[in-house]
Symmetry: C2
Subunit: 103 residues, 2 copies
Amino acid sequence: MKKDIFQAIADPTRRAILSLLALHAMTPNAIAEHFTSTRQAVSKHIQVLADAELVRQEQQGREIYYHLNAKKMKEVDKWLEQFRVLWDKKFSQLDDVLKNLKK
Amino acid sequence: MKKDIFQAIADPTRRAILSLLALHAMTPNAIAEHFTSTRQAVSKHIQVLADAELVRQEQQGREIYYHLNAKKMKEVDKWLEQFRVLWDKKFSQLDDVLKNLKK
DNA sequence: TATATTTGCAACTGATTAGTTGCGCAACTT
DNA sequence: AAGTTGCGCAACTAATCAGTTGCAAATATA
């Protein structure tokens, strides 16, 4: 039921919501206006983001402002770390050099 | 049907496969040995990774070696870029400085 | 040639999901 | 006080998904 960060960012709508919230905090209605689907559908997406702690709520009267919790995104960055060494051409070439040295 | 990178890395098993392939190329059978589920289940995961171009195949006789396409992971890194500015305390403090300068 | 191994593909099934609708509650507005 | 607005929660449904089993093709081995 409760999803992790990777599942949370798997959905394009949810990624778009995160991008919106990167600019400034917003209420569910304000967020929903950016999409064609209903408020409740968007609200469900927000709930998933909240479960994953990618988003925090701030109640103000009857309105709820959703804030991006950018720090949580660090976990994705941390996971990427293991591949970062591999994807850069410079490192590949360095790898080749090391292989040649072995011979 | 065809999934994108974000959907591909949403599954923990698939992330584990990617981590395995970060070490060296492997055949489906070899990969499946690391998991409790059946070969076909693992094969399906590999197929998803291949569709997302996170993995390339290299046929050798009747064996197929799957290689990690680490460069594709850059797309996730690129998406993270928009949040990287926000998650670092130093940048938040810099932001405060800029706000104060405005006054 | 006969047999075993490696693999992908297709059909089936139970579980999960995304989106809708309807509701109720709390908080503003007039 | 009465009506409106903002919102979350719950139930329903159609669609999708994950994993299994069974099969066929290609390569290797005896």
